[in-house]
């Protein structure tokens, strides 16, 4: 199957990455060659194979639902590109 430019633009929208026309063109070429490579998998019949969902033999363990830290608001906000005292700031979303 081949990926056309419209499909690439749609996927970029889903991934929240803006692309100019030149990028769309180069990505269309790259992704088609990558998917051609990926589609070798279709040679294999996997109807009776269970999908592998975890590589570990043991199942994930439970832990107690406990608060182990806290009061680290300043640390969390420290790397924010724009902040206003105790909040993250984003462009206006409601009029």
């Amino acid at each position: 199957m081949s990926l056309d430019k419209e499909k690439i633009k749609h996927v970029a929208k889903l991934a929240r990455i803006s692309l100019d026309e030149a990028k769309v063109n180069s990505l269309t070429k790259d992704l088609n060659s990558i998917f051609k490579f990926i589609e070798q998998l279709n040679e294999l019949n996997t109807d009776k194979v269970e999908p592998l969902t975890s590589i570990l033999n043991e199942s994930l363990r439970y832990r107690k639902d406990q608060i182990k830290d806290g009061k680290i608001r300043d640390k969390i906000l420290k790397n924010s590109p724009q902040q206003n005292e105790e909040f993250f700031v984003v462009p206006k979303v409601v009029e």
Partner: protein, 485 residues
């Protein structure tokens, strides 16, 4: 003390313990090397002042019982380091200063080591040549204009150029073993779950694993001992007793069964790789190991599977970079959605965008079964190949890479040809197994080549032992001449 930095980690640790060298002398020697090696572009950030201070502290109150007493170490810039910028080789994290320390680096510091600086890598560890980093290409000390492998290319280059006595990398599809092979050094990808992933910038969570990169197998055992261990903060961390890999190193491998998989002889593989493999087989056989021909029939499907699973997980992991809580934010946005889209477009490089789009596509409605589910099924088949064979062999010997290091720019125009570099390393990640890359020879240009030993889950000790015996009998010597200062 001219060749201080030319020693192995083990020798350095011994000399510190015997008080032949101080931590300060050692640290200054590495700083001098690093300052003279800017051409290699291995460091994104240096922490010299902090390192010198730690060295002085160690010398004043030394604790020689630690595994890494007063040892300065540089680490891949994918490990979060408290109050030291951590970029993952990306513009989107160019200003990110973690307020916490990754478990693996914390384990190293708790063992007596301290940070020299952060090493360049492919952006978000996505690459096989260190050409995708926002901070530029890293050069292989083996020769000018040669790539050091990737994604842990800064690590392999710095190690081979004596800019750090040992280092750590991460390996999602070969990112420790391939650069180790390209620089004539030793690299180990441990069993999935042996080293904590907590505090490591995530690429593909079901494949990512941190591991040591060193000059010798003994050094590798020392580093693994220091960095591994159970961590309740990583839900996939394996809870098992601590092992003492370096103390338990043995070079007697008599009677061990070594599998030789026929599928690892690929089309167009250079003759030198084949000869190297033959040489490796002979060394192990002469040491009393038994060689057994085996088949891993789904090997050729490992890379296509990887290029579904890894981008799928990456697209999900990298969704967090939205310009709100940390990292880069585009300044030219009119609304929130626009801000997300511009931030991610300006913040991520081309390879990362490619993989996010592949991942988004294979997970998107209507395509999930055809790609992602299919890949999970094939991953099961690949794992079963190994399970079946490990009933009859102790370890599997293969080449580490299908070629030696290539020139910068040689493969950047064709993503698939770049991906093919990881053809021998990727199956191991899909199956969660440990694997060790050992320097074993050089090609006709004199560029290093490596062999890979794959082990059973949590059987690191055995592949280290085989590697140890191999190293003693292989006679490989890295002949890097300092041309860069």
């Amino acid at each position: 003390m001219n060749d201080l930095t030319n020693q192995s980690l083990k020798e350095i640790v011994e000399n510190v313990r015997l008080k032949k060298i101080s931590s300060l002398d050692l640290t200054q020697a590495y700083i001098k090397n690093i300052e003279g090696a800017k051409k290699l572009n291995t460091f994104v950030t240096t922490t010299f002042d902090q390192a010198l201070q730690k060295a002085k502290q160690f010398d004043q109150r030394p604790n020689y019982d630690q595994i890494l007493p007063g040892i300065p170490l540089a680490v891949k810039d994918l490990f979060c380091t408290e109050n030291v910028k951590t970029t993952a080789g990306s513009n989107i994290l160019n200003n990110f200063v973690p307020s916490y320390e990754s478990t693996v680096t914390k384990n190293l510091w708790d063992s007596g080591a301290f940070l020299l600086g952060k090493l360049n890598c492919d952006e978000f560890a996505m690459g096989s040549s260190n050409e995708t980093s926002f901070f530029g290409n890293v050069i292989n000390p083996v020769a000018d204009q040669l790539v050091p492998g990737g994604s842990s290319g800064g690590s392999s280059s710095a190690l081979a150029a004596n800019l750090t006595p040992a280092t750590i990398g991460t390996d999602t599809g070969g990112s420790i073993r391939q650069p180790a092979s390209f620089t004539g050094t030793v690299g180990l990808k441990p069993t999935y779950g042996l080293c904590s992933r907590w505090g490591i910038v995530a690429f593909a969570s079901s494949l990512d694993q941190a591991g040591p990169m060193t000059k010798t197998v003994t050094d590798c055992a020392i580093m693994l001992e220091a960095m591994s261990g159970f961590d309740e903060k990583d839900s996939t961390s394996i809870n098992k007793k601590k092992e003492f890999y370096s103390k338990n190193l043995k070079d007697n491998i008599k009677g061990l069964k070594i599998g030789i998989p026929k599928e690892y002889r690929v089309d167009n593989m250079p003759k030198e790789i084949d000869e190297l493999w033959e040489k490796g087989k002979k060394i192990l056989k002469d040491l009393g190991a038994e060689l057994i021909d085996i088949s891993l029939p789904h090997t050729k499907y490992a890379l296509p599977t990887y290029y579904i699973v890894a981008p799928a997980e990456a697209s999900s992991n990298l969704a967090r970079y939205d310009g709100v809580r940390y990292g880069y934010r585009s300044q030219k946005s009119k609304d929130l959605i626009d801000m997300y889209e511009n931030t991610r477009s300006e913040g991520f490089g081309d390879e990362v965008k490619r993989r996010i789009l592949i991942g988004t596509y294979v997970l998107s409605s209507g395509y999930y079964d055809a790609y992602y589910l299919k890949a999970q099924k094939v991953r099961q088949l690949i794992k079963k190949d190994f399970d079946n064979n490990f009933k009859k062999v102790d370890s599997i010997l293969t080449p580490s890479t299908p070629s030696s290091a290539f020139k910068i720019g040689e493969k950047t125009n064709d993503p698939v040809s770049m991906y093919l570099n990881d053809i021998f390393t990727v199956p191991v990640n899909l199956a969660g197994l440990p694997a060790l890359s050992l320097p074993a020879g050089v090609d006709k240009q004199g560029y290093p080549l490596g062999l890979q030993l794959i082990g059973k889950p949590l059987d690191e000790q055995k592949i280290l032992n085989i590697g140890y015996a191999f190293e003693k009998n292989c006679g490989f010597k890295n002949k890097i001449k300092k041309w860069w200062s």
